[in-house]
Amino acid sequence: MYKNKKSGILGIILTIIILIMLVILTNIENSNLSYIENVASKLVVPIQNGLTYLKNKINGNSTFFTDINDLKDENKQLKEKNSQLEQSLRELENIKTENETLKEYLSLTEKFSKYETIPGYVVNRDISNYSRTIVISIGKKDGVEEKMPVISDKGLVGHIISVDDNTSKVQTIIDSGSSVSSLMSTTRDSIVCKGTLESTSSLRAMYIPTNTTIIQGDSIETSGIGGIYPKGIHIGTVEKVVNTNNNIDRYAVIKTAVDFDKLETVLVIKNK
């Protein structure tokens, strides 16, 4: 009886404590309990994920066999569409490059509008290490003849040395066998620019008059002497002057305006 009475009181006290605890716990802010939630979710979520994955797999498998034919059809259609798109892309690229080339031609023709010109592009370069001739895509059919000067948008390229029906060979000014009679634009002194083996972007200006001073960066243009090149075509600029013991055999290095390694489009001047 005593025992029962005691345990009854203990039960009541315990119940009260538990109830108070419950009241406290429910009144505590969630954030303070989040670590318990974290632990719980960490334990449960992987299992849940695994189960969901399995469930999805099983569900998906039932539709897998029915969908495969649809997918095949769709793939076929997409492939066709893809090839069509690729083709149109290629066409667009072609049009783009053509547009660029035509623009280049147009600017060239405008720049040299005082001459009657024929546009063409470089189709072949010399294989030898010692000569620098190029083959261009226009020939007798287009009205090209021997000894016609060839220019590009930047300046002088060379002159035609031989022509056949569809192509012509051009001896560039950087060829070691080429010499161009030219003028220095400021002093108006006549010099001769010869091609060298040394580099593909420089010429050697020789026969410089002894009493003249050469200015670095001075522009060099054709003089019109010699009968091949018309007067006033830009050749390049003076890069440096090499002085020797006497003034007679000094020479200057001329940097060509045209980049011969990247030369693509040229114009052949028809009337001199």
């Binding site: 290490n129 040395i161 070691s176």
Partner: protein, 144 residues
């Protein structure tokens, strides 16, 4: 840039006979001149000369050794380029720039030698196959 035409003509002359070597050299030279040359005939003459030189080499040296092959390619490249430069000098009166010329020539020779080293096994195999077809009774004079 290497000059593979010299190697080709030399190879033909070495493994066939003089007539064929010279003929191939001249034909190849004329074609090259037609396509890109400044005057028709210069390359033809020099490649024809390489054909003759190749047949002289064939009589005097062994083709079994890689070193002799390399030396033959070296000598014929030098002869070809010097000849070309000389003829160009006479015809076009170009400026003589010996130092620059030698510099370019050395690079070219080096390239040609490297190509010879690489394709030597192929050259030898194909060469002896052709040689057996063209030269049935070959008289060996002397081999070094």
């Amino acid at each position: 840039m290497p000059n593979i035409f010299v190697i080709l003509v030399l190879f033909i002359a070495l493994f066939t006979n003089r007539t064929l070597g010279v003929t191939y050299g001249v034909i190849l030279g004329i074609l090259l001149d037609l396509f890109i040359g400044k005057k028709i005939g210069i390359t033809a003459i020099m490649l024809g000369a390489i054909g003759i030189i190749g047949s002289i080499f064939d009589k005097n040296f062994s083709k079994d050794s890689r070193i002799t092959m390399m030396i033959m390619v070296m000598v014929s490249t030098i002869i070809y380029e010097v000849g070309m430069y000389f003829i160009n000098y006479i015809i076009f009166s170009i400026n003589v720039e010996i130092f620059e010329f030698i510099k370019i020539l050395l690079v070219e020779v080096l390239y040609n030698i490297i190509i010879t080293i690489i394709i030597y096994p192929l050259l030898q195999k194909a060469g002896y196959y052709i040689e057996n077809k063209y030269k049935e009774n070959k008289i060996l004079t002397r081999y070094f």
